[in-house]
């Protein structure tokens, strides 16, 4: 099921993941989560977008029962993550940010070990292993030691392993981190097939904007332990304006923003990243082209200027004041 544009699921269904006021403070006082709440609906792909340290991995850790929350509740497939952790683990599959394979064994042996831990009957496990290896294009490497597999193959193997128990919900923590673009593309296609072929609900964390935009039905933007926005990628972009005027300036961008403001040319709210000023053009404005002409005529000096589509990074910058990769904004 793909949720509606406002993110609500159908009334007939219960959320596959229900998180309410979830908090986590680590020993030493580091507050990783400051009371986040969200639901994930059956068949949905939810992306958690944020820079390193935003709280994405802590959230996945709590939902997969490897981190204890210090407040709030989280329910997975009807089971509380604290009180019914064993049942939760029986309902989920997880592919971690780092490679978590048994390096002493082959791809096939890793899958068989997983099947036994999740108590998949042997014949059924063999059928699923054959199917998943083929789906992840790993059939010809099944008997090779995992040490000999490339990064992309290892990641595909981990996704296959996570699916082996027919999980109702799959957690993918930074599934394409460190992979080259071609491999990343392959992983995205594999994730998209999870829903179409298996109907799996997916929660993934990422700090790749393209990944969030391309793969996810909804995106939760997480910043400093809080969800600052949760909506479909399109809705997040629309809230900012579909197009943006981008200026690359030589002088202090704050001065240029000030001048644009005095001239009434600063659009909805200018975003500054280094020497680049981005002015999203909101709905109902004169339009990006008209704004470009007016800025050009105003005498503001820019090394370059142009129009482009707004991205989730703009939305992220707008909502958090920092870029999704952690660079400082205005």
């Amino acid at each position: 099921m793909k949720p509606s544009e406002n993110g609500a699921g159908t009334d007939q269904q219960s959320p596959m993941v229900a998180v309410n006021a979830l908090r986590k403070t680590y020993p030493g006082g580091i507050e990783a989560l400051k009371g986040i709440s969200f639901d994930v609906w059956p068949g949905e792909i939810l992306g958690m977008l944020g820079p390193n340290g935003a709280g994405k991995t802590t959230t996945i850790g709590i939902l997969t029962t490897t981190i204890r929350p210090t407040g709030g509740t989280a329910v997975i497939a009807g089971h509380d993550v604290v009180k019914e952790s064993l049942a939760v683990r029986g309902a989920i599959g997880v592919a971690f940010q780092e490679s978590v394979l048994d390096n002493e064994f082959s791809a096939l042996e890793n899958l068989r070990l997983h099947a036994r831990l999740w108590r998949v009957p042997r014949d059924e496990a063999n059928r699923r292993i054959t199917r998943l290896l083929a789906a992840m294009e790993l059939s010809d490497r099944a008997n090779d030691g995992v040490r000999t597999l490339s990064g992309g193959m290892r990641r595909r193997l981990e996704i296959a392993r996570a699916l082996l128990s027919n999980p109702r919900i799959l957690f993918l923590d930074e599934p394409t981190l460190g992979l080259d673009p071609a491999v990343r593309q392959g992983i995205w296609e594999a994730i998209e097939r999870l829903r179409t072929d298996y109907g799996v609900t997916v929660v993934l964390s990422t700090h790749y904007l393209e990944e969030a935009e391309r793969v996810c039905d909804r995106v939760a933007i997480i910043h400093e332990g809080r969800i600052v926005a949760l909506d479909t990628p399109n809705a997040l972009l629309r809230s900012l304006g579909e197009e943006a005027l981008e200026l690359r300036v030589e002088e202090d961008p704050a001065n240029v923003v000030s001048v644009l403001g005095r001239l009434g040319l600063n659009g909805s709210s200018p975003l500054v990243m280094g020497k680049v000023i981005t002015i999203p053009v909101g709905e109902g404005s004169a339009g990006a082209t008209a704004l470009l002409d007016r800025v050009r005529d105003s005498g503001v000096e820019a090394a370059a200027m142009g129009i482009r589509r707004t991205t989730l990074n703009d939305a992220f910058l707008h909502l958090t004041g920092t870029g999704v990769n952690g660079q400082n904004g205005n």
């Binding site: 490897t66 064993l86 978590v100 048994d102």
Partner: protein, 275 residues
């Protein structure tokens, strides 16, 4: 999807799977098998006869070769346990522990399965020592009761020292730091446990300290079970007349130590693997 199963089934199945995996890791390579089997063979075929030749005459009423062969058991078992601590660090830092932590198995199954795998490897090593020792002329008492005392002491020593190893591995967390602890903890107490000479020849303070080691009690019970005659070491520990009572007391001490060590391991495991 996890099948409907009782908690006991889940616990047993999870522990057994993890146990088999740990054994498979240990025996995956030729070097792993050789490293496991070579020490007991070398000890029985070379070192024990040499020790017998060199110092065996210190007391006439025992067969020193048999005495030392049983001491080897008390050396090999903790040493194997300590070495297995490295696997805990590898699993945690580079390997598959995180996969196990999200598996529908009880968390306690993970260290328990490790301990059982180490116990199995130790049992094979002990069987080698006893078999080869017998072939080389050792005189073991293999009566059922003797074997039972011996087996209990070996199992409890293995569980205690493995629990200690896993706890240390989890606390230390790095192979570089754990490595030096292997000989320090795996071997040093053994020298003071009445392994090569009776406790009574140690300085009194050291003798008292040695009574707190599981090695001391285990070795005395092993000798009580498998050596005919006296000089098991139990009298040096308990200063009583009845050897069965003293053996039972030492087994009791070992039980308490093994239980406490496993409880500590489970506690440390939970704290170190759950943020």
């Amino acid at each position: 999807m996890i099948r409907t199963a009782s908690l006991v089934e889940v616990a047993a199945a999870g522990t057994f799977t993890l146990y088999q995996r740990r054994l498979a890791v240990a025996l995956k390579t030729v070097s792993g098998i050789a490293g496991t089997m070579a020490p007991p063979i070398l000890w029985v075929l070379l070192i024990a006869p040499a020790l017998d030749e060199a110092v065996g005459g210190f007391t006439p009423n025992i067969d020193y070769f048999t005495y030392v062969a049983l001491a080897q058991v008390a050396l090999i078992v903790p040493f194997t346990s300590m070495f297995s601590g490295i696997n805990v660090i590898v699993d945690k830092e580079f390997g598959i522990l995180r996969e196990f932590l999200v598996a529908p198995v009880f968390r306690a199954s993970i260290p328990l399965a490790n301990a059982l795998a180490v116990l199995t490897i130790s049992a094979v090593q002990v069987a080698l020592i006893i078999g080869l020792g017998e072939a080389r002329g050792a005189e073991f008492d293999t009566s059922p009761s003797g074997v039972l005392w011996f087996g209990a002491a070996v199992a409890l020593l293995s569980m205690t020292t493995y629990a200690l190893a896993e706890t240390l591995a989890l606390v230390v967390g790095r192979q570089e730091a754990f490595g030096p602890l292997i000989p320090a903890i795996g071997v040093t107490p053994w020298f003071l446990a009445g392994s090569l000479f009776p406790l009574s020849v140690l300085p009194p303070v050291v003798e008292q300290i040695s009574l707190t080691f599981p090695w001391t009690h285990a070795l005395a019970v092993m000798r009580y079970g498998m050596m005919e005659g006296t000089e098991s070491g139990l009298v040096d520990i308990w200063h009583m007349d009845s050897e069965p009572v003293m053996a039972a007391l030492s087994v009791g001490v070992l039980l308490v130590m093994a239980g406490a060590a496993m409880a500590l391991t489970l506690r440390v495991f939970n704290r170190k693997t759950m943020a």
